[in-house]
């Protein structure tokens, strides 16, 4: 692994049902090799069931490979136990989900402050101002004291991105972040991602929308759990 590489997947396979001894195990990923350099803007595309989300789950440690190795920022993710893995994830990876997944009973501001409290990277005195700054950055500062249900889908997704950035992780991953948004909101979200890349962060986005893939510096296409193309654009 080169020092500039942030993510490295070596011969990663994931088979659902393999451990449970299912009669028909389902291979979600087949011998995937992928290296992502720090600061890259990567899109993982493919049709439904192609293994995109499984690939993302490998990078975030949400799931472990049946075979192979996953290394992110020099940490062998697949070897971490649940506790250290959660802390590592909080510090290293910001995750954006398709359905926003904000804590419904906390305000937007509190949704940002909670992960800071978990990970304890941002000094206590700076947390509130950092949260406000992130909300301003994503254009929803006015919604800081509202509950998620009071926000539109686009606003909720921007809040989710702000939360993913709360602990200033070097890696931002997003699973179908624009899948539930109209084109105007989708564009806003993508703009935020571009801004993060420009700021030096690595952004990995999973999407099934091929035209969205064109926004990215690199597009990896998956089919039936395997990488079928890995294209870099000039951007």
């Amino acid at each position: 692994m080169r020092t500039s590489d942030l993510i490295q997947l070596k011969s990663v396979s994931l088979t659902y049902g393999a451990n449970a001894g299912a009669t028909t195990p389902y291979p979600a990923l087949k011998d995937v090799n992928l290296t992502v350099a720090a600061g890259e803007h990567l899109a993982v595309v493919g049709s439904s069931g192609s293994g995109k989300s499984s690939l993302l789950n490998m990078i975030t440690g949400i799931d472990h490979p049946t075979r192979g190795e996953v290394e992110v920022g020099g940490t062998k993710v697949h070897t971490l136990a649940e506790g250290p893995l959660a802390l590592w994830r909080g510090r290293t990876v910001g995750i954006v989900f398709q359905f926003f997944q904000l804590i419904p009973n906390l305000t937007i501001l509190e949704n940002l402050l909670l992960p800071m409290e978990f990970v304890n990277v941002v000094p206590k005195a700076e947390r509130r101002s950092r949260a406000h700054a992130l909300l301003a950055q994503t254009g929803i500062e006015a919604q800081a004291d509202k509950l998620p249900a009071e926000l539109s889908g686009g606003e909720q997704q921007r809040a989710a991105i702000a939360r993913a950035l709360a602990n200033d992780p070097p890696l931002l991953v997003a699973d179908e972040p624009t899948g539930n948004l109209d084109s105007r909101n989708a564009e806003r979200v993508l703009a935020i991602f571009r801004a993060q890349v420009a700021a030096g962060k690595t952004v990995v986005v999973v999407t099934h929308e091929r035209n969205v893939g064109a926004e990215f510096g690199r597009v990896v296409t998956l089919r039936d759990g395997a990488i079928v193309s890995d294209e870099r654009s000039g951007r």
Partner: protein, 764 residues
């Protein structure tokens, strides 16, 4: 930490009705357990404390003659702690116009400062004037006797009017309301004047350093040895259960019932509460995934949900602990009132309060422990997936648990009724075992002609029979001999008795002495076997009789002998002490009319009667002893059913809540609210009816075990309480269970369909 606490608190608040349901269910379980705990702590200590506070004697010795004992010398013995005269005589007192019951009069050596068996003044004079008496307070509940009134007393053949100067509290006595006695106290001179007996014959003794009945008996034996030559002649001795209140058995029974049913109610509520809590936490599964995804470790997640449960714990504790203390004390006071003792533990002991607080804090974690552990264990992927399969599995498991909980509630409720039925049938058998209608017991053995003379020619009487043996105390407490067993001698072919035999047969032989024991006597003779030769001390001599049967009877230890042998051994003049009469008209009214005739005849004769009692009254005395147990049993059994119904209602609420989206889909495809309600009610009632059927089936073995258990507890080792099926109980159980089931399913389903289709479909 701040935002973790905030999240937990907001989750509790967001739960709304569901959170209230959890608090309610937890509070209910805690209330039940807490009430039982408080009552147990207060009752188990206070009856004993009341009794010990009287400084009860270890033994009571009655001498054949008065004035033969040097009391000062006895008190000076190094092994004797205290000794005091407490003479005793039984007579009759009118408690209501023409209603006479036994009066137990005590001659107290020093009423100002009694050394043993102390009583405390409650009203009026502490020491009565010469010629007057004090009465025990419980007697006021069954009579019109009050301070300042005159008690009409029949002492032997004399009729007296005795002033009542005050009321005392004597917690060492069996309650007047149960035994139908009036206890009275006076000075030795007045005692002699009223009873006609010489005081200084009955002595109470306490020894130093004795710790059991056996040690008391040994100390007594040593004392009697010292009296062997030239000392006072002993007529009888009584060594009661060591420092035990006469009605301790009732309290033991009550504590056993509340303990057993309280435990079952607790188990039931714990299962149901855990279901509700688990369902609420299940709703949080997705959030567990999010928390882990944004950096929360397992301990953080567990910490947040522990806080979440902590809020429920505090809220339920705040509701349930004061309630538990209040109901625990209320129940204790109810028992104290019935058993005539005072609640001494007026301030809740610190350790009980601490236990209640610990229980409040621990219970939710106990119930939700597995769910909490699961929340900590679950991976982000599993948590975010929140598959519907899990919901299906959870629903099936909940239906099964609800059904089992209903079955348990039904089984306990039905068993409560069956035990009640067993006791009623036992009482009926007790009543039927004695075939006479009215019993007249003389104060002492008299020539049989004297009975015949006084009671012949009663128009309401059909047949009569005379018995001998005892000294003329109440038949339910036949006098203890030196061995502490009552002897009932009756004609071999008595027409007045038909006791149900537990084992063996009734008296038959006219040539060989035979004996039949009642159940209470079994222990006294160390569980003898049929055919064993028993040695009985009768009339100062040892006599042998073959044990031929064990009779079922709720009474003091008794041995039944054929009159011929008893007369040959100890009663050469064929004296008798009681007469049994059957009425021509055996209806209640007819028997009462005969009783009145007997009372009038007795009043007009020279008969010295201890009591005249009908079988109906005798059964009532036994029923009064059991009543508190029956009432408690049914109340607690109902509580269990109620808890199971509440559990079912909460489980249905949760199920309906979890299926809100399904309700939306059903409505979207054209189902009317009525149809949806019917669907949920049908599903709920299917589980309810299955639980009901299972519960009724379960109640059969449970009733068998419980009857045996309570029978032993109530009637003594070796005693039997037969299983009985209660048709009323069956009907009430089925009806209550169905009504509860309908309410428990209809109400939550009705509430759910009030949501609009859009709201239902959008439900998370």
């Amino acid at each position: 930490m701040r935002y973790q606490i905030l999240k937990a608190w907001r989750d509790v608040r967001a739960g709304g009705g569901k959170s209230l349901l959890v608090v309610f269910a937890l509070a209910l379980g805690l209330w039940g357990v807490g009430s039982v705990g408080v009552a147990y702590r207060v009752l188990s200590r206070d009856l004993r404390q009341n009794f010990l506070g009287t400084v009860p004697p270890h033994a009571v010795v009655t001498f054949q003659e008065a004035g033969r004992l040097d009391l000062a010398a006895l008190r000076a013995r190094p092994d004797v702690e205290e000794a005091e005269w407490r003479d005793f005589a039984m007579m009759r007192v009118e408690v209501h116009p023409d209603v006479w019951i036994p009066l137990l009069l005590y001659g107290v050596e020093d009423l100002e400062q009694p050394r043993l068996a102390r009583v405390s003044s409650e009203e009026g004079a502490r020491v009565p004037r010469a010629g007057a008496i004090l009465i025990e307070r419980n007697g006021q509940l069954i009579s019109t006797l009050r301070t300042g009134t005159l008690a009409k007393v029949r002492s032997g053949s004399r009729k007296l009017e005795v002033p009542i100067d005050g009321v005392v509290f004597d917690p060492a006595q069996a309650p007047a309301t149960q035994d139908h006695f009036i206890y009275a106290y006076t000075d030795p001179k007045t005692f002699a004047a009223i009873s006609g007996e010489t005081p200084g014959r009955r002595l109470m003794i306490r020894w130093k350093n004795v710790h059991s009945k056996e040690e008391v008996e040994k100390a007594l034996a040593r004392l009697r040895e010292s009296w062997a030559e030239g000392g006072p002649a002993v007529a009888s001795v009584n060594v009661p259960a060591f420092l035990e209140h006469p009605h301790q058995w009732q309290l033991n029974m009550l504590i056993a019932i509340i303990g057993t049913i309280g435990l079952l109610a607790f188990l039931l509520s714990s299962v149901l509460v855990s279901q509700v809590v688990a369902a609420l936490l299940a709703k949080q599964t997705r959030q567990v995934g999010i928390l882990k995804a944004v950096g929360a470790t397992r301990s953080r997640v567990i910490g947040i949900y522990a806080l979440y449960l902590g809020f429920f714990a505090v809220a339920s504790g705040l509701v349930a602990i004061p309630l538990a203390v209040a109901t625990g004390y209320r129940f204790s006071k109810f028992c104290a009132g019935i058993l005539n003792f005072e609640i001494l533990t007026t301030r809740l002991p610190g350790e009980v309060l601490a236990a209640l607080i610990v229980a409040a804090l621990v219970l939710p974690f106990l119930f939700a422990g597995p769910t909490l552990a699961h929340a900590g264990r679950i991976s982000v992927r599993e948590a975010l997936a929140e598959p519907r399969i899990q919901l299906r599995r959870r629903l099936s498991r909940r239906v099964a648990i609800t059904m089992l909980a209903t079955a348990l509630g039904v089984a306990i409720f039905s068993t409560g009724f069956n035990i009640r039925q067993s006791l009623y049938e036992f009482l009926a058998a007790t009543r039927d075992s004695m075939r006479f209608d009215v019993q007249v017991v003389a104060t002492k053995s008299i020539p049989r002609e004297q009975f015949a003379r006084a009671l012949s020619g009663l128009s309401g009487a059909d047949r009569t029979e005379v018995w001998s043996g005892g000294k003329g105390e109440l038949q339910t407490r036949v006098v203890g001999t030196s061995d502490g067993i009552g002897i009932v001698a009756l004609p071999l072919r008595s027409q007045m008795v038909a006791l149900r035999m537990v084992e063996g047969r009734w008296l038959r032989s006219a040539t060989e002495p035979e004996a039949v024991l009642n159940q209470a006597a079994l222990n006294l003779f160390h569980q003898p076997k049929m055919g064993q030769v028993l040695t009985l001390k009768i009339g100062g001599a040892e006599r042998q009789a073959t044990l031929v049967g064990i009779a079922e009877e709720i009474d003091r230890p008794k041995v039944y002998l054929a009159q011929t042998f008893y007369d040959r051994w100890a009663n050469p003049e064929h004296r008798v002490n009681s007469m049994m009469l059957t009425a021509k008209d055996r209806s209640f009214r007819g028997v009462m009319a005969l009783k009145k005739q007997v009372e009038r005849a007795v009043a007009a004769s020279d008969l010295q009667v201890l009591y005249v009692m009908s079988q109906a009254e005798r059964t009532k005395i036994i029923a009064d002893h059991l009543n508190i147990i029956l009432v408690t049993l049914l109340i607690l059994a109902f509580l269990v059913l109620w808890v199971s119904a509440l559990g079912m209602a909460s489980a249905t609420s949760i199920t309906v809540m979890e299926r809100t989206r399904e309700i939306g889909v059903l409505r979207a495809i054209g189902a009317t609210p009525g149809r949806i309600i019917r669907r949920f009610v049908t599903e709920g009632m299917t589980a309810n009816l299955a639980g009901l059927a299972l519960g009724l089936l379960l109640s059969w073995p449970l009733s068998l075990v419980a009857s045996a258990f309570f029978g032993r507890l109530m009637l003594g080792e070796g005693a039997l309480l037969h299983y009985a099926f209660s048709p009323v109980g069956f009907a009430v159980t089925v009806a209550t269970s169905i009504v509860f089931g309908l309410l428990a399913t209809r109400l939550p389903a009705g509430a759910a369909v009030k949501l609009s289709t859009r709201e239902a479909l959008a439900y998370e």
